[in-house]
Amino acid sequence: MKVYLDNNATTPVSDEVKKEMIFAIDIYGNPSSLHQFGVEARNIVEKARRRVAETLGCDGQEIIFTSGGTESDNLAVRGYLKTTSKKHIITSATEHHAVYNIFNELEKEGYRVTRIGVDKNGTVDINQLKEELTEDTAIVSIMLANNETGTVQPVGEIVSAVKSMFPHIIVHTDAVQALGKLKFSVKELGVDLLSVSAHKINGPKGIGALYIKKGVRIKHLVSGGHHEKNVRPGTENVAGIAGFGCAAEIAVSKIDEVNDILEKLKLKLIKGVKEKIKNIKINSDAEKTLSNTVNISFNNVEGESIIMMLDMDGIAVSTGSACTSGSLEPSHVLKAMGVDPVAAQGSIRFSMGKYTTEEEIDYLLEKLPPVIERLRKMSPLERQ
């Protein structure tokens, strides 16, 4: 049996999306061309733009297609900073590397960076955030849902707090993990900039979007033609965009249906693990977490060994974040939450998707306990 429980890393492309992409691949005209070949391709791009806009609750004019979440985050933060002389920037301690490392680099480039701490469930401290805001603050970037723990941040409240004190401050949110899993609209949240990506919602890799609220200025990061309102030059990835449009529409239209199923599976997974395995810790019991994500520490064993053993049983899971695999540092997210180092080393992220079944969770619950038992027998931290 093959069980894929790493949907926060990426998801399989759905059949509907594939169909639209295959159709779009044959529409080879350049969307910028004036002739009918170009117009045909342009129509595909604009249809997808409307679909993505609709899922985010904004106008098509406010959507810029990019190569994915990472580029959207870079374009948002760096693209905005190019338009202002303000030198103070704020983020949280638990951002995805796509944002986290932008701020690390900006710090080296001379910006003053404030990283807002989180509580034991990973929720950002709004009071600390309020205290840190200044006249010189340019941008606040705080993710909507965390990729490792599923913790949902109170972005709407954050925007209200920021704007009531300093209306000029721009608020960006990385909503890559939230799209299709959490009901939201950019209007409700009130954000100025929001990043999304297709491959987390059963769409293709290499395509994403940045929502730029009407009136907010962003400068391009690479030079080129006039594509995407001069903000993101380069000939559009037409098939990718078509796939994204389709995936976004499906994800948001089925959000309640899928979440109901995932919520039940999540409870089953947590209950099963608690019953069958001792000495574990559920990371993130926040009031609001994504229905698909469960992060559990198995004390006294190390995460990579668990992944490798489960992989031999056909089960795919990950440690905190796929980007952490191969690095020696324990997850900065769990560290910020105050999880102790041994527990952080033994943390596993189970992330389900719309194709996850109850049988698959049963299979996991059958295979996981012996794996943990075996590794604990090898562990010097486990004393009989």
């Binding site: 190390e302 990579e304 060994s305 490798m308 027998k377 931290l381």
Partner: protein, 135 residues
């Protein structure tokens, strides 16, 4: 990340010499949870200075478990002096190589071995000193 060699996978899947030795002649304990790996290596040595048994307990990644297993296999049957010359590179080579980011695991295995040998020498020296004092 680079992939693990088949030899690493073999030793990870079926590690040799897992466990502790009761009344060991030497124990090496290295690493800490913050760096991500902890290894404990136990050796049993006969009166001809030959390592007759070696066992390990490891908290760590696949490479850490595989290098622990390999190092115990390599030293059993060797004299303490021979075993001391087993380097991290020799362990890595015997495993068919390790990904670059995992090289520290082989260093840890070498350190655990050296510490177990040091511990053994300390103990035998103490014993000898005790005997000398008694006689």
């Amino acid at each position: 990340m680079e992939q693990y060699s088949s030899k690493v996978m073999e030793h990870f899947t079926n590690p040799k010499n897992v466990g502790e030795i009761k009344n060991p002649d030497g124990v090496g304990h290295v690493g800490n949870p913050v760096c991500g790996d902890i290894m404990e290596l136990y050796i049993k040595v006969d009166n001809k200075d030959v390592i007759t048994d070696a066992k390990f307990k490891t908290f760590g990644c696949g490479a850490a478990i595989a290098t622990s297993s390999m190092v115990t296999e390599m030293v059993i049957g060797k004299t303490v002096d021979e075993a001391e010359k087993v380097s991290n590179m020799a362990v890595t080579e015997a495993l068919g190589g390790l990904p670059k980011v995992k090289m520290h695991c082989s260093v840890l295995a070498e350190e655990a071995l050296k510490k177990a040998i040091d511990d053994y020498r300390c103990r035998t020296k103490d014993e000898k000193d005790n005997k000398d004092n008694k006689s």
